[in-house]
């Protein structure tokens, strides 16, 4: 490769002049600036699957919250009409006229199944998010204190050993018997012991990070233990917490469906109650869509939430940011 230096308009001296060694210059970092959350989203949206999943999740959640409110859904509008119950889509449309409400037929109380599953989704998703929020907040805060204090640790381990060994289903059955089975009873039943498992998990993580040297250094500067827990240790566990949320929230939906299915559910027409009702109608003709559509929507919500959460958990781990 021949380069004509003359053409560059530089003299010999200029071409081969000495570059001064600059001490400060050598300390410079050439890599671009790093921002944690920007990198999280960059990694998350790098995968096409994640975009599809997130779109699906957003659509489902928004639809579940907007649609029943727009149409003013009333499950008992046709309760007294014997001819409106357990209809297949074609029969329902023949009876009520063509509209989006009847594309999945009619259910046990003569309600449109399509409207019923979205109303049920709204209740189930609300339950999952409220339980998730309560359990995570309490679990993370208690877990942080549990991991830090040796005295609390000794006490909480005993509590955990006792409470953790009582089957949750038993506790929830007792709750369902004791109180009227409403939405908030269900929230109470799922959160009364649900946080302890999360707290135990967080406690283990805190113990791992607690005695790292940078936390000692912070203590040396005079930072209070509370502040260290809040500012140094909790942010470190973002990825762990997100991953945990990803498994917890869908599990509440599945749990609610399961409880309703065995007859311990709440009085609101959640997805679990719909499945429970349809299961009782399995001998009646026209039950298929009435049963399978809430099952399908419950599965879709659970899977989408789980996959989105897991992938967000992966993306929030700084080790994937390379």
């Amino acid at each position: 490769m021949d380069i004509n230096y003359k053409e560059l308009g530089l003299t010999e001296e200029e071409l081969f002049s000495r570059v001064d060694h600059n001490e400060l210059e050598s300390e410079k970092i050439t890599a671009p600036r790093y921002s944690y959350w920007k990198s999280v989203f960059r990694v998350f949206f790098r995968s096409k699957v994640n975009i599809v999943i997130l779109g699906l999740l957003l659509f489902t959640v928004l639809f579940a919250y907007i649609y029943p409110n727009v149409t003013h859904y009333d499950p008992y509008a046709n309760l007294m009409n014997g001819a409106a119950k357990h209809l297949s889509p074609s029969k329902a449309m023949a009876y009520f006229g063509k509209s989006i409400h009847w594309i999945l037929g009619a259910g046990a109380s003569g309600e449109p199944t399509f409207d019923a599953i979205w109303n049920g989704s709204q209740i189930s998703i609300s339950l999952a998010f409220i339980c998730g929020a309560i359990n995570m907040t309490v679990g993370v805060l208690v877990g942080a204190v549990w991991g830090f204090s040796k005295k609390v640790d000794a006490f909480m381990m005993e509590v955990y050993n006792i409470v953790g060994n009582v089957p949750t289903i038993l506790i929830i059955s007792v709750m369902a018997m004791l109180f009227s089975p409403s939405f908030w009873t269900m929230v109470f039943a799922l959160t009364v012991v649900g946080w302890i498992g999360i707290a135990y998990f967080i406690r283990t993580q805190v113990i791992i990070i607690r005695d790292r040297e940078y936390n000692l250094a912070s203590k040396c500067l005079g930072t209070s233990t509370f502040k260290i827990a809040l500012r140094n240790i909790l942010p470190f566990m973002t990825s762990i917490i997100v991953t945990l949320l990803a498994t917890e929230i869908p599990s509440y939906i599945s749990y609610e469906v399961f409880l309703a299915y065995i007859g311990l559910g709440m009085s609101e027409m959640s997805l679990g109650r719909l499945i429970y009702q349809a299961e009782g109608a399995m001998v009646t003709p026209g039950w298929e869509l009435e049963f399978w559509s809430p099952v399908a929507i419950a599965s879709i919500i659970a899977v989408v939430l789980y996959v989105a959460g897991q992938n967000l958990g992966d993306a929030s781990d700084p080790r994937t940011h390379m």
């Binding site: 300390e27 040297e213 000692l216 250094a217 500067l221 930072t223 942010p235």
Partner: protein
């Protein structure tokens, strides 16, 4: 000059400091009955093999772990105190009382009242110690600071350099963000880093840069005493020199007093004024640096010094390492080892046989 200083109140006085850890059934004596003074403006070196309690001693002084017994004074003010020695004294007095009052013809009432008075006094001491032990938080942090051994592990990975450096200032009650920013910039310049580094995260820095951030974090509070816990042992040689030079400059500029913990004797020799040698949790020898290297008295010190390599092949060929065989571990014999002044300013702890 140094003669005058020694008459002054020492900056730090450590008295019979013990740091025991309960490990299941046994007690690990990490630091056992260590006493020394650090004078204003000097660099006090602490050497010894791995696991001899150097780091624990440093951490006890900054109160990262509550000490078992003994006292630590900073400029005459007690900053840490242990209560175990008082508890032991009470237990001893009680068992003595049990023996004496069991003897025929003993004046039980008098013995009893003497015991009660003694226990009351000891309990008063415990209360006082507890009071001094109470966290005075920021006040102490401004006076004693620590540099940690591992620059990778001692910087919070989720905080930027700017946040790391300003944390201490904010904790000291500084509210003026501009003043903090000015100080942080000044400190970065002092340790040879750039303003641009403020927004950087520790993982973007090299090992030497990180350790300098660690040094800057301690120095920004302008402490009177700096505890440098093996600040250079995780760095390569060229960077070691950078950090040592930085500490030397700070010392000349602001009269910083340093407790320098190390196991590298060649560094200690040139950097420290006085050196303490630790072995198995105890301070075995304490002398001026030159004196210690010229006339080591304790057999362990001799062994330690004989292990230092020199960049001289002729010398290296003839260098023989003296092995150190500690005297048989008999509880009584170990206690009989006395702490005595062999020469003026040169202390050694050993038994008669040694």
């Amino acid at each position: 000059m140094r003669g005058e200083m020694s008459h002054q109140e020492p900056l730090l006085r450590v008295e019979h400091l013990c740091q025991y850890f309960n490990t299941g059934d046994t007690v690990t004596k990490a630091v056992d009955d260590v006493s020394f003074d650090i004078r204003q403006g000097e660099v006090f070196g602490l050497v010894g093999e791995s696991g001899c309690g150097k780091t624990t001693l440093g951490r006890s002084i900054v109160r990262l772990c509550p000490i078992t017994s003994g006292n630590v004074y900073l400029k005459g003010v007690r900053i840490a105190a242990g209560v175990q020695s008082y508890r032991d004294a009470i237990a001893r007095a009680k068992s003595e009382y049990a023996i004496q009052s069991g003897r025929p013809g003993a004046d039980r009432a008098a013995l009893r009242s003497r015991l009660d008075a003694f226990v009351r006094e000891q309990e008063r001491q415990i209360r006082l110690a507890r009071q001094d032990q109470k966290p005075c938080g920021g006040k102490l942090a401004a006076q004693i600071q620590m540099i940690f051994q591992d620059p990778v592990d001692s910087l919070e990975p989720k905080m930027t350099v700017g946040e790391i450096l300003s944390e201490g200032l904010f904790l000291q009650g500084e509210r003026d963000k501009k003043a903090v920013h000015r100080k942080v910039c000044g400190m970065l310049e002092l340790v040879g880093l750039e303003r641009e580094h403020i927004a950087r995260y520790p993982h973007e820095l090299s090992g030497g840069q990180r350790q300098r951030v660690g040094v800057a974090r301690s120095l920004i509070l302008e402490p009177e005493l700096l505890i440098a816990d093996e600040p250079v042992s995780a760095l390569d040689v060229s960077v070691q020199a950078q950090v040592i030079q930085l500490l030397q400059e700070m010392r000349e500029k602001s009269g910083l007093t340093i407790l320098f913990i190390a196991h590298d004797l060649s560094v200690v020799k040139y950097f420290c004024d006085r050196i303490g040698v630790m072995y198995g949790g105890r301070l075995v020898e304490l002398a001026e640096a030159g004196e210690l290297f010229a006339r080591p008295l304790h057999p362990y010190t001799r062994s330690l010094l004989s292990a230092v390599p020199l960049p001289d092949p002729v010398y290296e060929k003839s260098r023989r390492q003296i092995p150190y065989r500690p005297p048989a571990k008999q509880g009584a014999a170990a206690d009989a080892q006395a702490w005595r002044e062999a020469r003026p300013g040169h202390f050694v702890r050993c038994s008669g046989a040694e």
